[in-house]
Symmetry: C2
Subunit: 438 residues, 2 copies
């Protein structure tokens, strides 16, 4: 695998003494498993809207952080957290109104049959819970994920997250299928090809005596390289999984909360009807909150054998944060903004492709875009090294994005949903500059 967007002391020459001191402190107290972004890591002291600021007032345009969906330090969310924290923060074994009001509000964004929610604190926990529930419901143990999926960091979910690298062994009941790569497979064939891979995985499970539990899929296939299209292509694969006794877990940690610009949830833009849906990252604009939403019957089998309690999850402060995010999403029409500004950016990048041959493909939905860089448009040879230079070149221009994909040659672009056309212009201009100096 090519080098991901991480700091390595050996590659870096331009780290300030101030930042070098912080890096040394990090290494000492946080240990060796943490990673920093960029050859020259970014030191942040403040955030506001789509801007992050360094210690000397340097303003970075944030074109990467989907967690701060309604903007960094959004005052409505900050107020909601501050107000509720001063009143009450307790757990779900007492009756509290806030968790119910938020659950009802959140569920109102779903189709009627997805009518129950269980709260957790991280996307990893939500997926971990969904896996437990799926096993109980289906009686199966087999899971299908895409070949560079990332679903979380708990032990169970790490074994279903091949993007963590070859050293993290997959669970032996997990099968991977290639992501729906519309750049290398004709979009009109994607549905059949993806379904064929899923059927092959199911057949392999059967041959090994493994009963399928679920297809667990990021609705935008972001860690695989951002593959949102064509809309609806997943239906055939999902039907095959159901026929074999499994269910669909729609992982909306990346694709949910209006990100795609087409719908509040990624599964809706594909016209799917998942049994379970998981969500996290933008849910509290950075406050640790996540959830699993499910059809009532699906949770019953789990509930018969196991109670569920998560100390911090569903507490009144987390729910106030979640509620405030939904307020802003609605009031500021951020779904519409994601659609509009996302399409504007996509068109802008497509325009740059006329000038810069290294841009092989521009894809995405709403404000989640992937830009695949190639050394040759015919062979589509991944331009991994160029990708690293672009990401770091943009960072030097104080524009923050990152990279993804099996060859780390895909620009990952997912700004806060309050990103404007003017912000997009600034990004496009910086990208043009960096590509021009390659």
């Amino acid at each position: 695998m090519a080098a991901a967007n991480y700091y390595e002391a050996a590659r870096s020459t331009n780290v300030s003494p101030e930042d070098a001191a912080l890096i040394a402190r990090r290494k000492k107290v946080l240990g060796p498993a943490y990673r920093l972004f960029y050859e020259n890591p970014v030191h942040i002291v403040r955030g506001e809207g789509v801007w992050l600021y360094g210690p000397h007032g340097e303003a970075y345009l944030d074109v990467y952080n989907n967690v701060a969906c309604v903007g960094h330090s959004n005052p409505h969310v900050v107020d909601a957290i501050a107000r509720q924290a001063a009143i009450l923060n307790t757990h779900t074994r007492y009756l509290t109104e806030g968790v119910l009001a938020y659950a009802e509000r959140l569920l109102a964004t779903f189709p009627q049959d997805l009518s129950q929610v269980m709260f957790a604190c991280t996307g990893s926990e939500a997926n971990d819970l969904a896996v437990r529930v799926a096993k109980a419901y289906t009686g199966g143990t087999g899971f299908i994920v895409t070949s560079l999926a990332y679903h979380g960091t708990t032990e169970a979910i790490a074994t279903m997250s091949p993007s963590l690298g070859q050293h993290v062994k997959l669970n032996e009941h997990v099968r991977t299928v290639p992501a729906p790569d519309t750049y290398r497979t004709a979009p009109e064939a994607i549905s059949k090809v993806f379904a064929a891979h899923v059927r092959a995985a199911l057949a392999d499970m059967k041959a090994n005596g493994i009963k399928p539990a679920a297809l667990l899929a990021d609705m935008l296939f972001t860690s695989d390289g951002v593959y949102p299209d064509p809309k609806g292509f997943l239906a055939e694969a999902v039907a095959a999984v159901r026929e074999a006794g499994g269910i669909l877990i729609a992982d909306e940690v990346q694709s949910g909360f209006a990100r795609s610009g087409d719908a509040m949830w990624g599964f809706l833009r594909h016209g799917l009807d998942p049994e379970l849906v998981t969500m996290g990252k933008p849910m509290g604009n950075g406050h640790p909150i996540s959830a699993m939403v499910g059809r009532p019957g699906v949770v019953d089998a789990f509930a018969r054998t196991s109670r569920y309690f998560n100390t911090f999850a569903g507490n009144p402060v987390s729910c106030a944060a979640g509620m405030a995010v939904l307020d802003v999403l609605t009031e500021q029409k951020l779904l519409e903004n994601a659609r509009d500004v996302g399409a504007y950016m996509k068109a802008g990048i497509a325009g740059l492709a006329e000038k810069h041959a290294v841009i092989g493909d521009v894809r995405g939905a709403g404000l989640f875009l992937g830009v695949e860089l190639v050394n040759d448009r015919k062979t589509k040879e991944p331009a991994s090294e160029v990708c690293t230079r672009v990401v770091n070149g943009l960072r030097e221009k104080r524009v923050l994005i990152s990279s993804t994909g099996p060859d780390v040659n895909i620009l990952k672009i997912r700004p806060p949903l309050v990103f404007s056309r003017a912000n997009a212009d600034q990004f496009l201009s910086a990208l043009d500059d960096v590509l021009s100096t390659l």
Copy 2:
């Protein structure tokens, strides 16, 4: 297993119409896996210090919630959260000073060799991470836990948490040992008996070709029934685990942050030197933050094969909450308070035992006490039904505790650390009253 302290519609007769409506909403939107405490659930709208308040101003004395360690809605913690949330909330792939300052402050409460910390959001996630790290470090897969241990709710950790009930299957590489029951085994024999059980578990692993990874133990054995003594009894068992190639993971989710009154961490009062330590609940006074602390060499093997990232963990707001908790713990001398008020309550309950024969044993450390109720002091037959009546009787007197143990006959008492002697007097008086009317 006897009925735990949960609401069941069939057993309840005195739920107000207002609360019944909330319960109906809960059932509809949160589904069947959630549980409420008490026959007549408690509806809470506000918290302050050691008090929780109902919708009509009813004041409940909180003798149960260890999460709100520095008191409900502690203004110093609320201010810290509000202030930082308005400035910056981002992740650890950028350089931010707050996570380092907090890491350094937290690590300063540990012996020098426990010098690295990795952040997560829940105790479950911290234990899940510790299990992954322990496996990588030792090359083993076997874990020893006590027979009614609770370590968390992720799939991996649920299989090491027999307290979740017989329906949640243990991992086949997990072995259980009986808790160090000082009520039924002479305290002076506990060390040998516990070590013998651990050796037997290790021998059984060996016979099954399982290489040991760790002894994972709550330093107060709270879900087993609260067994903190005698101090130091674990040393022999830990030596046996190490001899077999395993390590000690000290689970301080319950016992940490001064709870025991003897030391900041439970392992310190036992004179132990764990390779890994996990913590959560009181760390942010309710804000979702947890951590794993380890010796540097222990994390290296994990780091060689896996990067670590947890989107929300170690963010500046969580770290500000954690820092504020440490401020209050120190400034208000809450370790000393836990020792003083804990001893005062323990003596007070022991006094009540002279009057109430149902009190079989009073044990605990600092502000974590277990009171074992028995039908007969000679046979020590668990008084499970009486325990349920006591817990619910106290709730009717607006005093909140819960129950624990294999027979659910042990009162679980763990108030916020700001609990005073006057609060203790009120609790003791209420307990006396309830026991007098049995």
